[in-house]
């Protein structure tokens, strides 16, 4: 199982602040993305790369092949708009 923290617009779109994804770990970022798209088919487009960013252990991942274990803190959010 992989737990995913969800922020901002995506939290509203998916209707969850925390998602427990029933998938085997370790998994790669693109596999996590596909599992999310399967779980939320109506939001598949909003979950595409560029629209939904993924952070692993509080660091933004720029690699769709990065590996996620069940010990990692995983977060999902839209492009950032601070300042």
């Amino acid at each position: 199982m992989i737990q995913v923290l969800v922020f901002a617009r995506l939290r509203d779109q998916l209707g969850e602040a925390v998602i427990n994804l029933d998938m085997a770990a370790p998994a790669r970022v693109h596999e996590l993305r596909a599992a999310l798209q399967q779980a939320y088919p109506s939001q598949a487009d909003a979950l595409n790369p560029g629209k939904a960013l993924i952070a692993i252990n509080q660091v933004l991942s720029h690699d769709e092949d990065a590996v996620i274990t069940d010990q990692d803190e995983v977060a999902l959010f839209p492009p950032m708009t601070g300042g």
Partner: protein
């Protein structure tokens, strides 16, 4: 004797901040630095043609502090800096409220100007903050809420620094 303030101060808070006190913290007992540059970001009343009534800043506690620390560390690698002070507010804010403070000191002004701009540019799209605004749309009759979209110009601002290095 007065204790010297720490070199970096990075705060994420809901409270407002006092620019005069931040400036003083950049200067007090700091004879090394001849230049102090600071920037204050404020809530505007107009965004994408609509009248903004309120702004809500959300963030990712934990990652926010980490990302800001890493941006400041990158700035220190590129320029000779004395002190760096950074405050980003979260929560609900009204038009004209202060959102963000970035202040840097350096022996010379070039470094201070560049480092302050660099920190702001990266903070806008590399630190996990998101803005939601309540607007009066159309003829100012109806209220609605919307998430602020990331801008291409913010990404282009980052490329400027990448091209430099």
């Amino acid at each position: 004797m007065t204790l010297q303030p720490p070199a970096d101060s990075i705060l994420v808070q809901s409270d407002d901040f006092d620019v005069a006190s931040e400036y003083q913290q950049l200067c007090t007992n700091n004879p090394d630095d001849g230049a102090v540059v600071f920037f204050v970001g404020r809530v505007r009343d107009l965004n994408d043609g609509d009248q903004v009534q309120q702004l809500e800043l959300q963030h990712y506690p934990g990652m926010t502090e980490k990302a800001l620390g890493s941006i400041v560390a990158d700035a220190r690698q590129r320029w000779q800096l004395g002190r760096v002070r950074l405050i980003h507010r979260v929560g609900p804010m009204n038009v004209e409220d202060q959102i963000v403070f970035v202040g840097v000191s350096s022996p010379h002004r070039g470094n201070a100007f560049d480092a302050a701009a660099f920190i702001m540019d990266f903070l806008k799209s590399r630190a996990p903050f998101w803005k939601k605004e309540r607007i009066l749309d159309g003829q100012g009759q109806t209220q609605s809420e919307r998430w602020v979209e990331a801008r291409d110009s913010d990404q282009q601002a980052l490329q400027r620094w990448q091209a430099d290095s």
